[in-house]
């Protein structure tokens, strides 16, 4: 996917593609033929209305994908889910459920399957089952690595947002309770020389001038927090300090998240994740080619590409890459074993034995090396040595050797490339950092967090030390001790306000934070990173949680107010 301007990995990838680079992974005619066959099977599946034939097509597709060492077809599963809901809308629930079953076979345990099942159940009128599926979908999200990853990164962003807005609301409540006193003091300072009305107007101008700045709203909150510092209690000042520290921490946290996500959302990382999860998606070969283009010197990438070629049955391409890896890493036992497997299948048993022996020497605890060595000896009619190697393999891991024997595996390949996914991600991140540092402008971003955290504190303390001699006007306790009928409801529905009147900073902040968290739940998808579910869960669950939570919260506030009425 092409993306945005800026020093991102995706931009580098885009540049590589636009420069006409050879991005697609090399594919041999038999592999292309197999993919073509899968394309046909996919079309047949999508147009199929006969359930038996559709089931047969699903089996064919899964067999094909297993041949290349993978297990999932997420693109086709998405299409099957859409078909399922479409058929349910036409009240053909049998076909709908069969399509859902196909989606579950093509991409098992994905949350989107559950969300689609929830839609079908709802269309069937089975509302309880629908809610059950929705709930199951959210549980499944935590077992889906990419979804879970985006969800947690989005949760961090959402959490920062909630804290920032709660801090802003805290300042707003401080202004609502103590703003009158602040305006009075400002007007009094100006009133000596000016008429009262002019002094009042000028006070408002002095309070609102940050709105004229770019991003003025944010500056206004920061400015007010500094002005109101002197009027706050000790606990309110602690909350303000925490808010300023948060302001300083946000850019650092965002920068760290950017580094992680810039990699995670890049096509090469997507391909890596798919290989780890056994997914064959439409762009996989292109994205793998892109990975090779981006990290041409990476030994780990070369080993991964070699493994993919081996899985596809492109042994010659695999061997070239394995040999390049061995040249760089002579002690890489996984590659030695895989290279030995290549010679084994070429019936070059002498070469195979040499590679397997080298692997066993490098990694004496490798049951695979010993097992493969025994197989190569056996094919060379060196039965005594074969038996010895077999005994050594069984001595290391009897159970696995038995499983290979029972599975009639002539030689076992290791596929160590995918095990180096973490290393490849680190290399991608390093590539990104190199690109970013090359294009970084100025040094302000390095000092911005410190300035954001300490600047307001220093300004507030200086202002307070200048102002304290003149004293501060006391803010009234209108709401906390209000006795009129409406006061109770205001205490209940204006969280943080009564606490601000008596100067209870901690309670005031959390009184604002709790309803904000609940109210933001339905908007959580817009606050974090959008998860490509493959079928949307719908907004209902979020709204229900938010509304029930808010009702419970305000009911609790009402009861608390009754219990503590003065």
């Amino acid at each position: 996917m092409l993306a945005f301007a800026g020093p991102t990995l995706a931009a580098s990838a885009a540049a590589a593609q636009s420069a006409g680079a050879r991005t697609r992974l090399d594919l041999t005619p038999p592999v292309l033929q197999m993919l073509h066959q899968m394309q046909d099977q996919a079309v047949q599946l999508l147009v199929q209305t006969d359930p038996d034939r559709a089931a047969a097509r699903v089996s064919d597709l899964l067999e094909s994908v297993h041949q290349v060492g993978l297990a999932r077809l997420p693109d086709l599963a998405r299409a099957a889910r859409v078909r399922a809901v479409d058929r349910a809308r036409n009240e053909d629930f049998d076909l709908a459920n069969q399509a859902l079953a196909a989606a579950e076979l093509l991409d098992p345990e994905r949350p989107a399957n559950s969300f689609a099942a929830a839609s079908v159940s709802r269309l069937e009128g089975r509302y309880l089952a629908s809610w059950g599926w929705t709930l199951r979908g959210f549980v499944r999200t935590f077992r889906w690595p990419f979804g879970r990853y985006l969800l947690l990164e989005g949760a961090l962003l959402w959490f920062l947002w909630v804290l920032l807005v709660a801090a802003g609301l805290f300042v707003a409540v401080q202004m609502a309770t103590k703003g009158g006193a602040l305006v009075k003091d400002l007007a009094a300072r100006l009133g000596g020389r000016l008429p009262a009305a002019v002094a009042f107007a000028l006070s408002l101008v002095l309070l609102l001038w940050p709105l004229a700045l770019p991003s003025g709203f944010a500056w206004l909150i920061l400015y007010w927090s500094i002005l109101l510092w002197g009027y706050g209690s000790a606990s309110e000042r602690v909350v303000l300090i925490c808010a300023w520290l948060l302001l300083g921490a946000v850019p650092v946290l965002l920068a760290q998240q950017r580094q992680r996500l810039d990699v995670a959302l890049s096509q090469p990382a997507m391909a890596l994740g798919s290989l780890e999860g056994g997914e064959l998606y439409g762009d996989l070969f292109n994205d793998l080619g892109l990975l090779r283009e981006l990290l041409p010197e990476s030994v780990a990438v070369r080993q991964l590409v070699a493994d993919v070629h081996r899985r596809l049955g492109q042994w010659d391409l695999a061997r070239a890459n394995y040999q390049a890896v061995v040249k760089e890493e002579p002690g890489n036992s996984a590659v030695l074993i895989d290279l030995g497997a290549y010679y084994f299948f070429r019936r070059d048993y002498a070469q195979a034995i040499e590679q397997f022996k080298a692997a066993a020497e490098v990694d004496p605890g490798s049951a695979v090396a010993q097992y493969d060595l025994s197989q190569a000896y056996r094919e060379s009619y060196r039965f005594e040595e074969a038996d010895l190697a077999d005994q050594r393999a069984r001595g290391i891991d009897q159970q696995r050797v038995e499983s290979w024997v029972q599975g009639s595996e002539r030689v076992v390949a290791v596929g160590g490339g995918i095990l180096r996914a973490g290393e490849i991600r680190r290399e991608l991140a390093a590539r990104l950092r190199a690109t970013s540092s090359a294009t970084r402008e100025g040094t302000l971003d390095r000092f911005a967090p410190i300035a954001l955290a300490l600047g307001p504190l220093i300004l507030a303390v200086v202002l307070h030390s200048l102002r304290r001699r003149r004293g501060y006007t006391e803010a009234p306790l209108d709401l906390k001790l209000g006795s009129r009928a409406g006061h109770r409801w205001l205490r209940v529905f204006l969280p943080g306000f009564p606490s601000a009147e008596v100067g209870d900073g901690g309670r005031g902040f959390f009184a604002l934070l709790a309803p904000l968290v609940l109210a933001s739940i339905p908007f959580a998808s817009r606050l974090g990173y959008r998860i490509p579910w493959g079928y949307e869960p719908g907004p209902g669950a979020g709204w229900i949680v938010a509304l029930v939570g808010l009702a419970a919260y305000f009911a609790a506030r009402y009861r608390w107010d009754l219990a503590h009425e003065v």
Binding site: A3, E474, R530
Partner: protein, 383 residues
Amino acid sequence: MSVEGNLDLFQLPEILQLIAQQQKTGILTVQGQEDIVAISFLSGKIVAADALNQSAEEGLKEVLVSTGLLTATDFARAAAEQLASGQRLLDLLVERRYLSRPRLLEALRVQTRQLLEKLLDWREGDFKFYTGDEVSYEEGFVPIRVDELLLHAGETKRKPGEERSPAPVRRLVVPSPAAGAGPQAPRSPQPGSAAPLAFEPPPPAARPPEPPRGAVVVPFPKLESSIPGIRQMTLEPSAVPNPLRHAGRTLGALLALGLLATLLIGPGRIFEPFTRMGVRAPGDLERRALFLKIDRAAKTFFLLEGRFPERLSALRDLGLLSRPDAFDGEGRPLSFTAGEKTYELRSQAEGGTVEGISRNFLLDPEFLTLRSNDSPAPLVLLD
């Protein structure tokens, strides 16, 4: 002279309303079975109340601690300091900065109101009202209006969810000598007048109140000693005038509304100011995640229909996208233009993408054609 009677004849709300209506100044004492309470009125408004059996400190402590203005420990420490110094507790609390004077006065007002609300429950007892020209009360105390007291008492007694009912009082009807009406004729209050209660002859101003036979009356000196240092002062308005309070509240409310509006308009805008400081906001990453989601949805559409959708809403109808997916994190709408084999997705903020079916082996037949750089022939495995 004084007005006296018992609560069987007139209930307390009626008596209080009468005093308020006639804007009397003086002290009302109410003697019940367990306590005696004295209420000071200034021009018909309550400015102090004191009970014989509950010290002012106890009541004040209850209010200060329950409102969070002072902890029980701090109050105990202040009380100990007061015992040691012999200073008035109210002065000591302010002087030693346990709390500010406006806060203390507001707490004292609540304490007075609570005491009076308890008193309103009394159904038996005797009352006596001593009129006078002046009464003593705490400096700066904001007087409590009788109707405010009765309304709040009604609200407090009403259970949650219960319909609001009028304050449980009957209006006392007193004769108007001037009109010569009968005892049931209503009488309008005369603002500023010093008219006496209608059923008593006007008391001589200089004459001190006399206790009735058989009644226990708390004399003024006793009241003053029970709230130490009470002195006569003029009423003061609150520290912050109402227009300025409203100004502060309006500013706070506007800021809060602005913050909450970002939730609806575009939550991601909260992070925009960071971009101005050289810190890159997560907006572009959000867009990348969103574009990835739309790309997968659009390609699924192509898989099903053999073409890209004309609008993003078509993907939403299929359940592949949700309604907010047509907008980026800052709330700006995305533009989507479909071609034959490609589509263009663009954000108003920055950047965009042109995507197509090429490079996708499931969608693009040409992907599966042999290229010059592809390997000519695979290894044939005999096994």
